[in-house]
Assembly symmetry: C2
Homo-oligomer: 186 residues x 2
């Protein structure tokens, strides 16, 4: 399995739809469906993004998600850590102290400081994290827009989300009428 | 599971015993046992290191492993790749083309160039690999020696490996005599 998994991939793609201000607050299902990724998986990811302060949610029929801070202030690293937790590149087991010559009593010099192998891995992890911290949702979006998205595309997106919200509201009204009819019938 | 696993940790620790020239060629069991790591696991790792040109093996009772090239020319990255194969940091699934608005026919602009998210991950992977390539077995050893190993330690190590080889030779002679006796008895 890759170090940075599918959850991060889905989260980043879904979050990009929230970068340009929308009139609606899409649900996680809306975001999953516009992106063509599994809604049940995305529904589990968004509470993690909310907990990490990347999105904020509001409830109710018009409720849904929006970014909790400016897209310039949300890095790829923030999303990786939110979705996967802070996971180590390397899990040092302090093998150095186990040398047969130490006879189960490693001398002080053997365990002095951080193990040299662990230190290399920790430094590599820092370099990796620093790199992932350099790219924000804003810069990712600028890159996508730079690919030549047609001028009308973003208004199509807006319409798609508006239609979804309208459909939810209609479904709710129908649901209320149906419940009310059921009560009258009863 | 960590991205860089236990196999790499064991491999690096065992390889460090081969950096200072030894009179013997230790077996993978010798290396595992002096380091206090599981011999069966290490026995599976060394053929990978041999295939990658990091160690070379010779057979026979005095056979075993030595580094196949100078420790300055064997990087931590070489060992990671040898043990784990070249594994991706991120496995892009080309999610960008699945947008619901494309109706299963993504326009050319949508798939132009590398996906922006994938590009960030590829760059981070390159930075990580470049970092792991900077440290060699020689520099790792210099770091360990810098921790103040007592002057007599390396000759103890030499004696330990020599005793192991002598024990193997004795066992072989006993085995030969025993087979020969069995034949005479038969």
């Amino acid at each position: 399995m890759a170090y940075i998994g599918t959850g991060v991939e889905y989260a980043l793609h879904c979050l990009l739809w929230l970068v340009a201000p929308l009139e609606q607050r899409p649900s996680s299902r809306d975001l999953a469906e516009i992106q063509g990724v599994p809604p049940a998986f995305v529904a589990k990811i968004f509470p993690k993004l909310e907990k990490a302060g990347i999105v904020e949610a509001s409830g109710g029929i018009r409720g849904g998600y929006r970014l909790a801070r400016a897209p310039e202030d949300i890095s790829v690293l923030d999303v990786v850590d939110a979705v996967e937790g802070r996971k180590a590149l390397f899990d040092c087991q302090e093998v150095r102290g186990r040398c047969a010559l130490f006879d189960n009593k490693p001398p002080k010099w053997a365990n002095r400081g951080v193990c040299g192998i662990h230190a290399v891995m920790l430094h590599a992890e820092k370099v990796l994290r620093d790199e992932l911290a350099k790219t924000s949702l804003a810069s990712l979006t600028a890159g996508v827009l730079g690919k030549g998205i047609p001028s009308g595309f973003m208004s199509e997106v807006q319409t798609w989300f508006a239609d979804r919200q309208a459909a939810r509201e209609d479904a709710r009204i129908v649901g209320m009428r149906s419940r009310s009819t059921t009560r009258e019938d009863a």
